[in-house]
């Protein structure tokens, strides 16, 4: 071998060494990834956008060097699986199998988002307990806290962000405002016939009855219903002043169109998913003017009076484009940060240590101040002290104006022009 050949060989060996040694050296510094499992009904808009928010949070954290576990910086890795539990007709057992598949194949250290439907979350709580899987979930049934409270030791791995009871709380405040400002006392309730929305409907019905409101009717529609004329006719005939809708199905936009077409002289105030995002005005036009909607968490709508919500909203729209859903993205984004903070405090990924640290969470997020009580986000009226939902009204020119809570309100509730 000549001198020239030796030099070439030395160069090749050097290049190969450098090529392969750099990633290994990085891996030693970075450590293995911390896997966040995301088992949910990802083809549904809300879950899909929440999944994007989780990825956004992970990207931001990784860009800052990852998560410090003891003395090792470790990157976050998001592993999602499609459970289809939010799609009609999909058996619960299929969703449970998908969750278990994620646990066995991807071996996540914690779960964020979780199943879409409440019924599946309640079943998954046992799976979380079996696998000792810390999880921060979204499905909203009040039965979550009930089940957790029955056996806190077993279900200590389960946390949850939003509870339907809080939505009831916000809606009751809106009704109080409507009563005070306009003297409204007659309401018609119309909900989607699924667990979370009927829970809100039932809660509101109880509140109305206790507060001398006259409930003129209470209709439940199966998912996929596309004609709401009977409800609107009954509401009009009964002289309802407020229609309280609770829907997350795509066809519920028809309800609002029919409301406007049929000139029903009642204010629409509740929760309708298709009207939630900033694009709804371009989709439905001025037919949605005057509708009052609840965004279940700040951050899914930017707030002038609470900067972290705007910061998240802008980061999300910059990364993924316009947000359309009114619940899930911001809370899941915050949950990743809460989880990471808990891991760093625990200095370990041991599920029991991690759970104890998640319980101690007290941080400012895009949804407001994040704290847990009975493994559930606490919601209140001031984002500086608790998480908040935001009630807004669609006003002229497609503006979403926050009207409640007062701490972040940017305007007052107005009757739509065609009702005056």
């Amino acid at each position: 071998m000549g001198k020239h050949s030796s030099l070439v060989l030395a160069c090749i060996i050097s290049v190969l060494f450098l090529t392969f040694s750099v990633p290994f050296a990085g891996a030693q510094t970075k450590g293995d990834p911390i896997v966040i499992g995301v088992p949910s009904s990802l083809k549904l808009l809300e879950s899909a956008e929440a999944h994007r928010a989780i990825i956004l949070a992970a990207e931001e954290i990784n860009a800052k060097g990852g998560v410090k576990v003891g003395n090792v910086q470790r990157p976050l890795k998001v592993e999602a699986i499609e459970t289809r539990d939010g799609e009609p007709g999909v058996p619960m057992a299929d969703a449970m199998l998908a969750i278990e598949k994620l646990f066995l194949e991807k071996k996540p250290h914690a779960v964020v988002l979780g199943p879409f439907r409440s019924e599946v979350l309640l079943a998954a709580m046992d799976l979380y307990a079996q696998y000792k899987m810390p999880s921060i979930n979204v499905a909203m049934t009040p039965k979550f806290v009930e089940k957790y409270s029955q056996n806190p030791e077993k279900y200590k791995y389960c946390f949850r962000m939003m509870d339907a009871k809080y939505v009831v709380g916000y809606l009751t405040k809106v009704m109080e405002k409507l009563n005070k400002d306009f003297g409204f006392t007659k309401v018609y309730i119309v909900v989607q016939d699924v667990l979370w929305s009927t829970a809100i409907g039932n809660g509101m019905q109880g509140w109305f009855q206790k507060n001398q409101w006259d409930v003129k009717g209470y209709d439940k529609y199966p998912t996929g219903a596309s004609d709401f004329s009977s409800t609107l006719i009954k509401a009009k005939q009964a002289g309802a002043q407020v229609i309280l809708p609770i829907f997350d199905m795509s066809t519920s936009g028809i309800l609002v169109q029919q409301w406007k077409d049929m000139k029903v002289p009642a204010l629409m105030a509740g929760f309708i998913s298709p009207l939630m995002g900033s694009k709804a005005w371009s989709t439905f036009g001025d037919k949605i003017e005057g509708v009052i909607n609840v965004v279940f968490q700040a951050g899914n709508i930017p707030l002038k009076n609470y900067a972290p919500s705007t910061k998240f909203y802008e980061a999300y729209t910059k990364r993924w484009g316009e947000m359309q859903s009114g619940h899930m993205p911001s809370e899941n984004y915050d949950s990743v940060y809460a989880l990471v903070a808990a891991i760093e405090r625990a200095g370990s990924l041991d599920p029991d240590k991690l759970v104890k640290e998640i319980e101690k969470t007290d941080m400012a997020g895009s949804v407001g101040r994040i704290k847990f009580q009975d493994h559930q986000f606490i919601f209140g009226e001031d984002p500086k002290t608790s998480a908040i939902a935001v009630v807004y009204q669609w006003k002229k020119d497609g503006k979403r104006v926050p009207v409640y809570p007062d701490s972040i309100a940017e305007g007052k509730i107005e009757k739509p022009s065609w009702m005056k």
Binding site: S229, S230, I233
Partner: protein
């Protein structure tokens, strides 16, 4: 209730008409009906919003494309399965699922997928305000029925349709090619399905899951009316349409689908071929 029962019935009839025409002529139960319905809506939305074509051209293209896909489905898949009814059902159902789930995986989810109404506004009919789009649906349904009647009674191809519908082997003896007519029936049924989507979908947003609901509702209407009978479809649509509105008005809106399916069961118990169907009676006579 009378006004909205009527409107609801026309919407159901329009939804089911394509399915009934295809089955009536070719005896193919097109379970891809729901997939074609949503595809028609999405194609129109795409041509309208993304390509920027005028509404009538976007709609025309969507109708033709879905019709061609229906014809191709017959030419490529169903022609090999002729006579194997269960296989035909499974094959068409698979095509429908592939269309719907492909659209879903392509990202067609969300609330911005909506066709604009043709004319905005509402009118007062007997003291009830009705959106103009619903009246347009009634108009389109009526025009379609008249056009179909003229076509099958006064054109050569239309008469060939009727010939194959009555007895395809006899039609063959007089020079009508049943396979060609069946292909055309798949084209026509799919195109009508797409047209119905274009006029009905502006009422709400385009959701992939609605494809499955449309199939179930169309099936219910056709089975109650008699699978091969266009008159039966219209009568059945009115039976179900009014039953749904009556249920929502006086019993419970959550039971509308239950009532639809229960009505179907009761009618099948009394008349196994449906209200205007003949197949079971003929079979029993033979």
């Amino acid at each position: 209730m009378i006004v909205y029962g009527f409107l609801n019935s026309v919407i159901l009839a329009l939804m089911a008409l394509g399915f009934s025409i295809t089955f009536g002529i070719s005896r193919v139960a097109n379970f891809a009906h729901g997939g074609f319905y949503i595809l028609g809506g999405i194609l129109t939305w795409f041509f309208l919003m993304k390509v920027g074509l005028p509404y009538p051209i976007a709609a025309f293209l969507a109708v033709i494309i879905v019709g061609i896909i229906g014809g191709l489905m017959f030419r490529v898949v169903l022609i090999r399965l002729r006579g194997l009814e269960l296989s035909e059902v499974i094959a068409t159902f698979a095509v429908g699922i592939v269309i719907l789930e492909l659209l879903r995986s392509m990202g067609f989810m969300g609330y911005e997928y909506r066709l604009p109404v043709f004319i905005d506004g509402s009118v007062d009919i007997f003291g009830t305000y009705v959106g103009l789009q619903r009246l347009i649906i009634v108009g389109v349904g009526f025009i379609l029925l008249v056009a179909m009647h003229l076509f099958v009674h006064h054109t050569k191809t239309g008469r060939a349709f009727r010939g194959v519908a009555q007895e395809d082997r006899t039609a063959l003896t007089v020079g009508i090619n049943p396979d060609k007519i069946s292909l055309l029936s798949l084209f026509a049924g799919s195109a009508i399905c797409s047209l119905s989507a274009i006029v009905i979908l502006p009422l709400g947003t385009i959701s992939i899951d609605d494809g499955y609901d449309v199939l179930i509702k169309s099936l219910a209407v056709c089975i109650i009316g008699g699978l091969e009978s266009s008159v039966g479809v219209i009568v059945a649509a009115f039976v179900i349409g009014y039953a749904e509105v009556f249920t929502a008005m006086y019993i419970s809106s959550s039971l509308t689908m239950v009532v639809t399916l229960a009505t179907m069961l009761i009618i099948l118990l009394v008349k196994p071929s449906g209200l205007f169907g003949k197949s079971k009676e003929i079979e029993e006579r033979v």
